[in-house]
Amino acid sequence: MIKKFSNIFRNGVYIDQYLFISITLLSITGLIFLYSASQGNIETIIKQSFFVFFGLILMFAVSQPDPDFYKNNALLFLLISIFLVLLTLLTGKEINGAKRWLNLGFFTLQTSEIIKITLPVFLAAYLFDKPLPISLKNTFLTLLLIFFIVNLIRIQPDLGTSLVILIAGLYILFLAGLSWRFIGISFGLFILSLPYIWNNLLEPFQKQRILTLLDPNADPYGSGWNITQSKIAIGSGGLQGKGYQQGSQAHLDFLPEAETDFIFSVIAEEFGFFGVCVLLLVFCFILFRCLYLALNARDRFCRLTIGGLSLLFLSTIFINLAMVVGIIPVVGMPLPFISKGGSSLLSFYIAFGIIISMATHKKLMRR
């Protein structure tokens, strides 16, 4: 019976057990963390559990089609997601002055989370057969597309996600073989254009966040409040932490956004430095598994996609952690698989589904 079942697996099912198990574990641990961070809010946990359950199924489902399916339909997926983003701008639900959500009745979808996946996949599909180094024409076309989409997200405004999309796009371009000369020149231009970006492209509240980072104590009860309270939560956790559900910073409401952006602070407060290390090791395991899979992928398209999506995951974690410990300004950025929130959670299940698909399907020629 068991043998029979595993045979089905070998022949008809595509799964990477390392990623599947570690992500499942991480998701369940995330639920446990969230239970504490939400102060035992059952409704939140049920909702999140539904997302986790549905997300794991989605991940499994997404990993079944052959990579060619994604390669061939990449443009279609991108166009659909651009349409959704535009629709959000026109008819989206406005929360706290930001139009990021599309109301689907049973679920409010954060459309930028979709395009976060479809753009790298499209870029990989577009660039995988281009000769090396990438020609200037292709480079500019790619950059144009990236900046167009990034700008669409930025005007929602959603600085965090637009930043991640920008980075993800640039990863693909870089991994696909962008010339070093071009990188050098554009990096110089970027440094030169910083004042322009500061003066014209950033919203006042975004500037305030950057200034706050430089000196959070200047305004501890204003915009510095989040960082200050987050640092107190993390710092007061010590080596061993205060114990599950014992974090005063989270449980007495000092820590803002404890369920979403600052959930890491809750973990650090309740489980201490040891807990933080264990969590980071799990993330590292997933990332290095992705590295291994990328290096052994069947073709260039798969390599680029796995590389791009895993770096997207990596960057999201980094931005969240760096923000929470006060290295970079506060931008809305969830901790993957742990923070509350459906859209971002589902987007990462999809991303890992695609990664598994890319990694487990062998070359058609060999079949």
């Binding site: 010590g238 007495l252 000092f254 390599r303």
Partner: protein, 613 residues
């Protein structure tokens, strides 16, 4: 499509680049781990404290002030309970219904109702109490108690107000309390090594401190030590539960030397006339009676005075706020004469047998200026004893004329003139003991012999406060030694003033006592009218302070039409003789006669003191 060779190089290129990014991020994550380590391990204690500070709130608990007693243990100042109606807005309470229901038996003012509505949600969110009404009457309390089962989270709680049981008797001596200013509060909190300012009050009028009198002087021991309550709070400041409690330490009770009965007597006898009464116990220097008249009610001051009432008090021409007992400056007039006589003995200018003829005036040899006595035709041949009994001016004019002014002022300073004689009086004035240097500095005029002559009868520049006169009287009674005056006796270290003399012996002191007994008991004594007011012996010296200098009785009749021109009446006394226990001084402004106006007050106070011993 790309060829195979290219594919291999592409793959290698891809490996290198992906690896490069991973290595880059390894460093970044290393930094995050380092940063977390710094927060959680290196600076752990800082953040632990910060988190603790975040989640706890210290609140002060106001201590109760010490009670003030008189010398027989009668309470003078107490903490009177007042009952407040309080609700807990964090529980579900419908204010509309509550006011509608309770309004039928407790009357709420519009201010009280407005305050409740304005503060309800704020107090609710912070889990604090809301006082609906202060100082409920007994009837209101009773009416509430029978209905209290109808209300949840509505209760009556005790708060205190500082209450002087005899608000007019002790207005200047005990003084009053008022609200504590921020600087003083800070100082007090630093002294008690406390920081937060949010306080759970025991007094209805919040932070209080002594403002005048004993309440001020002994504020530090009366006020007690703040207690502390530490609550766990959430980010909005809502109190969650009590973590730790340190009870406040009540202020020390204060036993004063003030005597309630004699104070009552003084108050009744003064009849709100302008003036002062001070009596001291000779054995200890304790102030037993201390009245500045007219007085005011300290309770009204302490618990809030309407603007109108305050204006009325301030603009009252009798100046009730003015503490005449330690700040009123009066010429000692004839009461100075015993001290001048003793000076003559000390310096050997006169002895008890030395006699002069008093024609009723003294002519200053330098400029033939005439200094008159009070009796036309004079007192005839008199010695020091007669001069004190009959209050001859001429005798003391000529004695002063023979005196050196510096020696004389030095002598008078020993009797308390020109200096503070009280240990714990509030803002005492030193009066004025003039000397040539002082006159040159302030009036830019040299000292005349006539100034010394005037000093001989206690007129001119010399001025003293009633408490200085009481001290002087006590020194005479005690034959040259007395503890510095005080309301509270610290027997561990009393400051004793002893007059050092070369030629004054016990006989001289006894003779002075005899002369002063004669002031009342001798047929020629100036205060003979007091004889019938007592049944024991009292030594005294009366004085009449001339405010306007007149040549004849007719002239005085003219100027006395204006009450403010009338002479001040003044008397010092001690008794019962021959072993006196109390000394007293009385000043009545514009009272005209020391003997017959100030005298009866002094005798009445003395009677009460002697009777109650």
């Amino acid at each position: 499509m790309i060829d195979l060779h290219e594919r291999v190089s592409e793959r290698k290129n891809f490996f290198n680049r992906l690896l490069l990014i991973y290595i880059f991020f390894t460093f970044l994550f290393g930094f995050i781990v380092f940063r977390t380590y710094t927060l959680q391990v290196s600076s752990f204690s800082d953040y632990e404290i910060a988190a603790l500070k975040n989640k706890t709130r210290e609140m002060l608990v106001q201590p109760k002030r010490g009670i003030i007693y008189d010398r027989h243990g009668e309470i003078i100042v107490n903490n009177a309970p007042s009952y407040n109606l309080i609700i807990q807005p964090s529980f579900e309470i419908n204010l509309d219904l509550l006011f509608e229901d309770m309004g039928s038996y407790i009357s709420f003012s519009n201010d009280e109702i407005k305050y409740a509505y304005d503060n309800f949600s704020k107090k609710a969110s912070l889990n604090r109490e809301l006082v609906l009404k202060q100082e409920l009457t007994k009837e209101e309390i009773a009416r509430f108690e029978v209905r209290s089962h109808r209300y949840e989270n509505v209760f009556i709680a005790e708060r205190f107000s500082r209450e002087n049981l005899y608000p007019k008797l002790f207005a200047h001596s005990i003084g009053y309390i008022g609200s504590l200013n921020n600087e003083d509060l800070e100082t007090i909190l630093v002294e008690q090594s406390l920081q937060p300012k949010e306080t759970i009050f025991n007094y209805s009028n919040g932070y209080i401190e002594g403002k005048t009198g004993i309440e001020k002087i002994y504020d530090k021991s009366l006020r007690g030590v703040f207690g502390k309550r530490i609550y766990e709070v959430d980010a909005t400041g809502k109190l969650l539960n009590l973590v730790e409690e340190i009870s406040p330490i009540k202020g020390k009770d204060l036993k004063t030397s003030l005597d309630l009965e004699s104070q009552k007597t003084a108050f009744l006898e003064m009849k709100e006339r302008r003036g002062a009464v001070v009596a001291v116990e000779l054995a200890t220097g304790a102030i037993v009676t201390y009245l500045s008249s007219p007085s005011f009610s300290v309770n009204k001051i302490a618990n809030g005075l309407s603007q109108e009432e305050f204006k009325k008090l301030i603009s009252d021409k009798d100046k009730p706020f003015f503490d005449r007992a330690v700040q009123g400056r009066y010429s000692p007039a004839s009461t100075i004469k015993p001290a001048i006589g003793l000076f003559g003995i000390e310096k050997g200018i006169i002895d008890w047998d030395y006699t002069i003829n008093d024609p009723g005036f003294f002519v200053l040899p330098e400029d033939n200026r005439v200094y008159r006595g009070w009796k036309k035709g004079g007192h005839g041949n008199i010695n020091l004893n007669d001069a004190i009994i009959e209050s001859s001016n001429t005798f003391f004019f000529s004695l002063a004329y023979e005196s050196d002014i510096d020696d004389l002022t030095e002598h008078l300073a020993k009797f308390g003139f020109g200096r503070n004689v009280c240990n714990d009086c509030f803002l005492p004035d030193s009066g004025l003991l003039p000397n040539p240097r002082w006159k040159m500095n302030t009036h830019n005029f040299g000292w005349f012999k006539g100034d010394t002559v005037n000093l001989g009868v206690g007129q001119g520049y010399l001025s003293a406060t009633p408490i200085q006169l009481a001290y002087y009287s006590a020194l005479l009674a005690n034959k040259g030694s007395i503890n510095k005056l005080s309301f509270v006796q610290d027997y561990s270290d009393p400051i004793k003033d002893i007059i050092k003399t070369n030629n004054i012996n016990v006989t001289d002191w006894n003779n002075i006592h005899q002369s002063m007994i004669g002031v009342i008991d001798h047929p020629k004594g100036t205060a003979g009218r007091l004889r019938s007011l007592k049944d024991y012996t009292i030594a005294a010296k009366s004085g009449t302070v001339e405010l306007v200098s007149t040549e004849t009785k007719e002239d005085y009749k003219v100027i006395r039409e204006n009450e403010g021109n009338r002479d001040h009446a003044i008397i010092i006394a001690f008794g019962p003789m021959p072993n006196p226990k109390y000394a007293v001084s009385v000043v009545i402004e514009n009272g005209e006669s020391g003997g017959s106006v100030a005298g009866p007050v002094a005798i009445a106070v003395m009677n009460t003191l002697v009777k109650n011993d």
